[in-house]
Symmetry: C2
């Protein structure tokens, strides 16, 4: 008796120790869409968070029995999913949202975008534009975004203030821009930027030479060297328009990808945006170099740039994530739910094949494949123990969300950015019940309205 | 002095009489997008409603000085626009939402849709499915919808209960279906339906022979005769798939449009759904017959049916509205904001022309052109004195709605169904602050969840 009593006691002690394992949060929901290697969907699931990490994911009962959390969030009418990853944005352009739509590229650039940027883009503009974009992104479920703009250090500070994760590319370009008179100045400012944020928990700083048609080879090579020195990705626009491809062929007898490869610019972590006009030889190069891509279906269709061969690219093993691109004429919002839905639909109708780019694939692009494109798949892109706690709770109790036969299909084809209810980034809750806890929304929206007047006047609008 | 005093007095009396003009409602907003012939957008605008009609639209100060309303709704942070018009739906299929996605047509139909319909579609199913669809439609700004399904009288009652306007087509088809064993039975039930609703203020009843490939010529002719007898439109699927066109050419040496025209089936009000594979000769026939069309970009892309030549069709003067189609595999929701956005983007990318289908055109398709396609443009489709008071208030104070440079562009490319805050149909407020006043949402959603279990079991799903 004594012996079994001791055993029982030991067992109870073990159990109670077990139950006492501390956590900062338990988050529970009707479904947990993990996007792990098995693509597990856990019904009545939960996860435990400690500091910035997920420590466990599983059935709710199991998580509850094992962890004692400081705080908990119960969402029986929601799906928990990995936070969405935007692989291509120009966040401060939110202040130009819809400034010029339905126009040909030249008119759009020359009458609106270039004058508007020349006359308006300052560090202050960039700050408020980024904060506005962060509000919008986080309220539609984006937890990581990948930016290319000017004054990127200002964007980094706004991103940290919002509590979002950012892969932030300081633009380097061959003509005078608001934050640099020359590409050399741009490179110098980029290195200061990389220095400053190289160890930041939320920011991955990056050099972003704009594109081969705007930036000299030597400058792109210098940007590549900087990226490799700091072990960060280089961001660049790649084969977005037919014109870009045609000009490269005419001037250099090479596609844009081959131009980059010929100067060694793909030797290291690279994220190419768009990739619409890639041919098979380009794809083989990108695969060999480990380059990631960003697919931007809203922008590519709205600007009539074309449709990337997403199925072929993914089948070759090139990680292609989703991007929302700019706000002025090209999208005009930053909502990855819309990009998932559109990516799937565009691939189907272009190939006249309804099985092309299924929902599961579209969701992968917005999560784990997007993480891989950025070289961040060890940290983010799925809900698994050891990864950063970047996650969203998406409500499933609205009329458009009911009934639900397939959780993943519902996420892609029926649920909306506006169904996102709560958001965690790096273990911190930054949206609760659609309130952004980190930002003063009222102040940001008022500033955006002020900028509207200024920007409109600068291009001769009312 | 006396004389001028008399004049002044008369003037004051006139003014006060004027000011006392009664109205049931004044609705005021930051912008009123009228969609009238001049496409006026009134800043700080308002409209007055008496009974089911709009009696005046204009600057707020003017409307306020002229009318004394019983009730008023002030929406300084909203756009007022005509209620959106859905020209093609299968409302009760909401209960099959996402039942089977990313599949080839045959597998989709044979493994899922046909068995699910055969085993589940009853009058009761149709009632709850319609109520669910009405909840979703009205919460994304649809005030009129155009349906084709079974038990259409049940759909009519649910639609009236919701307070929506419906052009409701009783399906007639060549094989046994849940509400009719034979097409003759279908025709008889259609005539009873037309009789019952011919004078309804909200319902336009219609015969809906399914398509030429499912319904015999004689049956379509009988449906045509019924439509003409009751002066209502006939609804039919038309050139949705390449296969439909190819089979008609192979069997009858005529396109589907020419088949219909050869049997006189286009002699009267007709609404053809999809029209993807129409050629120029077809379009000329449709123009000559005054046929309207429904463009369903979500469904057409998701099912990989193809892309209608919308620009060409509209340029020829054929009214082509927007439709959301079914919920099971083909959309999977009923949100015309998404259809406007997608219609514009698809036309641009297919033609590689960013000026194709501009925002103004997409909004017309969802409002006044849609009304014209249904033959209802005297009653609905714009905010003008004399028309039925069908209108929506759309919030413009969210992060994704700010800044706003162009009201129409914002409606199409940035605003969402979830921004719809208030809805009036036929002079009655049916949504206020996103609460549907006419329906018991909780009960409907609970029923939909119940049906989910039943439907899933019927096709061997969990």
């Amino acid at each position: 008796m004594k012996r079994s009593g001791t055993l029982l006691g030991a067992l109870l002690v073990a159990l109670s120790l077990h139950a006492a394992e501390p956590a900062d949060w338990i988050v529970a929901a009707r479904y947990v869409v993990t996007m792990d290697a098995q693509r597990r969907v856990v019904e009545n699931g939960a996860l435990a968070i400690r500091a910035d990490r997920i420590v466990a994911v599983g059935p709710r009962a199991e998580i509850d029995s094992k962890y004692t959390p400081k705080q908990r969030l119960d969402r029986p009418n929601s799906i928990l999913a990995p936070g969405l990853i935007d692989t291509h944005t120009h966040a401060p352009m939110s202040l130009f949202r819809g400034l010029a739509d339905d126009l040909r590229l030249q008119e759009w650039l020359e009458k609106y975008i270039f004058p508007a940027e020349a006359k308006n883009v300052t560090a202050e503009f960039v700050k408020w534009g980024t904060l506005l974009a962060c509000l919008e992104m986080v309220l539609s479920g984006t937890t990581t975004y990948t930016d290319m703009y000017y004054f990127e250090e200002v964007i980094a500070e706004a991103t940290k203030q919002a509590g979002l994760r950012g892969v932030l590319g300081q633009t380097i370009i061959g003509f005078p821009v608001p934050d640099a008179k020359t590409p050399q100045e741009g490179l110098a400012r980029t290195e200061r930027f990389l220095q400053k944020y190289k160890s930041d928990p939320l920011i991955v700083p990056a050099p972003a030479p704009h594109a081969i048609y705007t930036t000299a080879d030597e400058v792109i090579k210098a940007a590549r060297a900087l990226a490799n020195k700091y072990n960060v990705p280089m961001l660049i626009h790649l084969s977005e328009t037919k014109r870009e491809n045609d000009e490269a062929m005419a001037k250099r007898k090479m596609s844009p990808t081959r131009v980059l490869d010929s100067i060694g610019a793909l030797n290291g972590r690279t994220l190419g945006a768009h990739g619409i006009w890639l041919d098979d030889a380009d794809m083989k190069i990108l695969k060999a170099r480990g380059t990631g891509l960003a697919h931007c279906p809203s922008s590519n269709s709205k600007l009539a740039s074309g449709v990337a061969k997403v199925g072929r690219i993914l089948d070759m093993g090139i990680p292609m994530g989703l991007g929302t691109d700019g706000f002025a004429g090209s999208n005009n919002d930053a909502n990855l739910f819309e990009e998932m839905d559109l990516a799937a639909k565009m691939q189907k109708v272009m190939s006249l094949d309804p099985t092309a780019l299924p929902a599961s694939r579209a969701l992968e692009m917005a999560t784990i494949i997007g993480a891989r494109a950025l070289g961040l798949d060890k940290q983010i892109g799925s809900l698994e123990a050891g990864k950063r706690a970047d996650l969203i709770a998406v409500r499933i109790d609205s009329p458009h969300a009911i009934p639900m036969y397939n959780v993943v299909s519902q996420l892609v084809y029926a649920l909306k950015g506006s169904d996102v209810n709560d958001v965690f980034v790096n273990g911190r809750i930054i949206v609760k019940d659609r309130n952004v806890l980190t930002l003063n929304a009222k102040e940001i929206l008022a500033k955006a309205v002020e900028y509207r007047t200024k920007v409109a006047a600068s291009v001769g609008m009312r």
